[in-house]
């Protein structure tokens, strides 16, 4: 029994159990955390689009951190599936929007008809309640349309000028 205990404590399983969950990614006050929430693997074009987005926003002076939604996956999946705004407002989005920056969530869903046309959810959340600034469900972009996605995000980022001022 003792030998088993020693082996267990030295085993990778015991280490995995003891490693605490990593802290949330820090975001600069004027920055943007981009969380991607996927029910299907990202296409190469989508990965490139996110990279381009991060670079372009960084050039514009907005530090960007792109990461998978990970521990927020379940909550954010529900967030995109609830269409009633009053019901969405009941979700604890404050847990997602930690730190001082804004959070942009991008959800790629599995394709309906073909790989090139995937329904998409996009949302921008701000640190102060009510957290939702915009929410789009069901938008589809073609392969060629990934550039439009970047324009969309850049456009709303500039139009809403978050998080410098409160939503009007």
């Amino acid at each position: 029994m003792r030998i088993f205990l020693v082996f267990f404590l030295l085993s990778p399983a015991a280490w995995a159990l003891s490693v605490p969950e990593p802290p949330p990614t820090p975001v600069a006050p004027n920055g943007l955390a981009v969380l991607h929430l996927n029910t299907a693997p990202l296409l190469r074009s989508e990965v490139r689009a996110l990279d381009r987005l991060a670079k372009q926003l960084a050039k514009a002076g907005r530090p960007v951190v792109v990461a998978p939604a990970e521990r927020h996956t379940e909550l954010l999946t529900r967030y995109f599936e609830i269409h009633d705004p009053a019901e969405r407002a009941k979700l604890d989005l404050g847990a997602v929007v930690q730190g001082e920056g804004a959070v942009l969530v991008i959800r790629y869903a599995p394709s309906r008809d073909n790989v090139a046309q995937r329904p998409l959810g996009v949302a921008l959340l701000r640190p102060a309640a009510p957290h939702e600034v915009f929410w789009i469900g069901g938008m589809g972009f073609s392969e060629e349309g990934v550039g439009e996605l970047i324009k969309l995000i850049k456009g709303v980022w500039e139009a809403t000028a978050l998080p410098d001022g409160p939503a009007k």
């Binding site: 269409h83 009510p130 469900g137 938008m139 589809g140 439009e148 969309l152 139009a159 809403t160 009007k168």
Partner: protein
């Protein structure tokens, strides 16, 4: 000569950059009750933007739309489904066989929110195969509405076929 070629190329590039040679047939419907002048102005901007785009505006009033749906006031727009909206889709004339997009807009500047729903896809607008895109924007200032209009237009052109 070079100048003429450049001018010619510029002239060619001045037309709308949409696929095909047919304009988008779109119905844009206001869902606010018309009592708030700010809401009226907000919807007016959306409608004017579509009218100024490469599109044919299919007339559909709020009253006619609601009558077809059998309702008097708009319930929460974002919860609407294909099936719920389908009875409100206008029948198209023989010489105009397609409705390419239906855009429903609920501007509520007093509450600080604009909600919109776009059904699109040539020949599919009244069917479950239509794209259904829902929007909620919690800003009603000019730049934000301008941004939203671009997204509505992009959604309306989804699956357009000439």
């Amino acid at each position: 000569m070079m100048r003429l070629i450049v001018l010619g190329l510029l002239a060619l590039g001045l037309g709308p950059a949409h696929a095909g040679d047919r304009q988008l047939e779109v119905a844009v419907v206001r869902l606010d009750d018309g009592s708030d002048p700010q809401a009226k102005a907000c919807f007016g901007r959306v409608r004017a933007a579509f009218a100024a785009d490469y599109s044919v505006m299919v007339p559909l009033s709020r009253e006619a739309f609601f009558k077809k749906l059998g309702i008097e006031a708009a319930p929460d727009l974002l919860t609407w489904t294909h099936e719920r909206i389908a009875p409100g889709i206008p029948a198209t004339a023989e010489d105009r066989p397609f409705l390419d997009a239906l855009v429903l807009v609920d501007c509520q500047p007093t509450a600080g929110v604009v909600r919109a729903l776009v059904l699109s896809g040539t020949g599919n607008v009244g069917t479950p195969r239509a794209n259904l895109v829902r929007f909620a924007l919690h800003r009603t200032d000019k730049p934000a509405i301008g941004w939203l209009i671009k997204q509505l237009q992009m959604a309306a052109w989804l699956d357009f076929s000439p």
